[in-house]
């Protein structure tokens, strides 16, 4: 490829695209430029996460306590195992991608197609896993009470293990009313209904002497502060405002709402990259199968999408560390 323009004039050679600065083709170099700028976008997200975490460093949720679920293992706490699985899936799909690039260098069409196919499967498994992770996070597990200051109160028994609000709240004649049209215009919906309201949770809390409240503030050992029974009763009666179940962009039963915001933005932006990577890989896969690159006598296109795919893996390595480990 590089030597085909040797007969052109010096101007055409240098300025007409015949020259390859840094011995990289135009497309590959542009892919590297894109990767650098996209890396800066992701580091902007992660640095903003670090900023918010440093700002509320004594009240930040512990990721180990948030992501404890594994599909089909109901009630078995398995912190980190599922993200570790997702990490392996993505690294492995990177391996099949680089094998496809290598087979492309050797002009082995069927091998490229097979490895591209495996890469697409890996990417699909990853995106599916992330959807499951989101669904679990949004649904929540124990439920919590939000205070008037926007802080989260969680419930523990005297042994220190978490208690779900559904297991102690007393069902009462509901005082909550549906949003009535006489109270406002249709688009100003009422508060989201939780399965128990604050009065029911408070009544259940007062009736069970073995329950304690845990605040989101961390003590000097990095564990959330657990209040005494008297302080717990005082806290829920004076400060409790509403029940929170699961997480969304405004409220988050696991702790600070910013934690959920960054979770949705960072893993969502990364998941979107994986999703578009899968789409691009599918296009390239069909091009390989119909022999486009065989006719072009170069599989450089596979190399270029390969760069993008590895970059997505590279970003996940950092997201994994800074969101789940540190």
């Amino acid at each position: 490829m590089e030597t085909t323009v040797a007969s052109t004039t010096p101007e055409g050679d240098v300025w007409g695209g015949g020259n390859q600065p840094l011995r990289a083709s135009y497309g590959k170099m542009m892919m590297w430029f894109f990767i650098v700028s996209d890396a800066l976008t992701f580091s902007g997200f992660l640095a903003a996460y670090g900023f918010s975490r440093f700002k509320f460093v004594n009240a930040w949720p512990i990721a180990d306590e948030v992501f404890t679920h594994f599909p089909f293992l109901h009630g078995v706490p398995a912190p980190m195992f599922y993200v570790a699985f997702m990490t392996f899936v993505l690294i492995f799909s990177s391996v099949t991608m680089v094998l496809a690039v290598d087979a492309g260098h050797k002009m082995q069409q069927s091998k490229v197609a097979m490895y591209m196919f495996l890469t697409i499967i890996g990417g699909a498994i990853f995106v599916g896993s992330q959807a499951w992770e989101w669904a679990t996070f949004i649904k929540g597990d124990y439920g919590a009470v939000e205070t008037r200051g926007g802080k989260i109160l969680q419930f523990l028994d005297t042994e220190g293990s978490r208690v779900a609000i559904g297991s102690f709240a007393e069902s009462m004649q509901s005082t909550a009313t549906e949003h009535a049209e006489s109270n406002g215009v249709w688009f100003m919906g009422g508060n989201q209904q939780t399965s128990y309201n604050l009065e029911e949770v408070t009544a259940g809390f007062l009736a069970n002497d073995n329950l304690l409240i845990r605040t989101q503030y961390l003590d000097e050992n990095g564990h959330p502060t657990v209040l005494s029974r008297a302080a717990s009763i005082e806290k829920i009666q004076n400060d409790g405002k509403l029940v929170v179940e699961g997480a969304n962009l405004k409220r988050n039963e696991y702790g600070h709402p910013l934690f959920a915001d960054f979770f949705f933005f960072i893993t969502g932006f990364h998941g979107f990259h994986v999703f578009s990577g899968v789409l691009i890989n599918i296009i390239i896969f069909f091009n390989v199968v119909i022999g486009t690159y065989e006719r072009r006598k170069s599989y450089e296109m596979v190399e270029k999408v390969g760069l993008y795919w590895h970059f997505v893996d590279l970003v996940w390595v950092f997201v994994f560390t800074f969101f789940y480990l540190v």
Partner: protein, 147 residues
């Protein structure tokens, strides 16, 4: 494409592979081992790695410099330091071997890597210092936040 040269050695030439496929699998095994170590540390969380190795130096100019240069060992849990180092090692091998940065020219490599590293380090540094400053303001002021 025929004259593309692939270097088949990793770990500064200490580990040489016979073919490019073997090198890919070798790097995959290495990355997997690092990930397993990270997950194991993350689950066990050894108590000895949960508090910083050194405490801040007290004193004048030299103590300030020492606190700045040794800040990873003074203000950071050793466990987190291990995680970050392992992450950078993983990023290095993904970039160098999967993205073939090892086979690119030196100038392309520096253009991509140094630009990104400089800008990211700068951004992280100013944002984390600012975040810590706001934390101190919240902590030491007269407005009650916990209610």
């Amino acid at each position: 494409m025929g004259h593309h040269q692939h270097s088949l050695a990793i770990f500064r030439g200490r580990l040489k592979f016979k073919s490019i496929e073997q090198k890919i699998w070798g790097v995959f095994i290495f990355l997997s081992i690092i990930t397993i170590v990270e997950v194991a540390f993350g689950i066990i969380k050894p108590a000895s790695l949960m508090s910083p190795f050194l405490s801040p130096f007290e004193g004048e100019l030299f103590a300030t410099f020492a606190n700045i240069f040794l800040s990873p060992f003074i203000y950071m849990k050793p466990l987190n330091l291990i995680f970050i180092v392992l992450t950078i090692v993983k990023a290095y091998y993904i970039t160098w071997d999967f993205m073939h940065m090892r086979d690119e020219t030196k100038s392309l490599r520096r253009m991509v890597v140094w630009t990104a590293i400089f800008l990211i380090c700068y951004l992280v540094l100013i944002l984390l210092i600012e975040g810590d400053y706001i934390f101190e303001v919240y902590k030491n002021n007269y407005v009650k936040f916990d209610f």
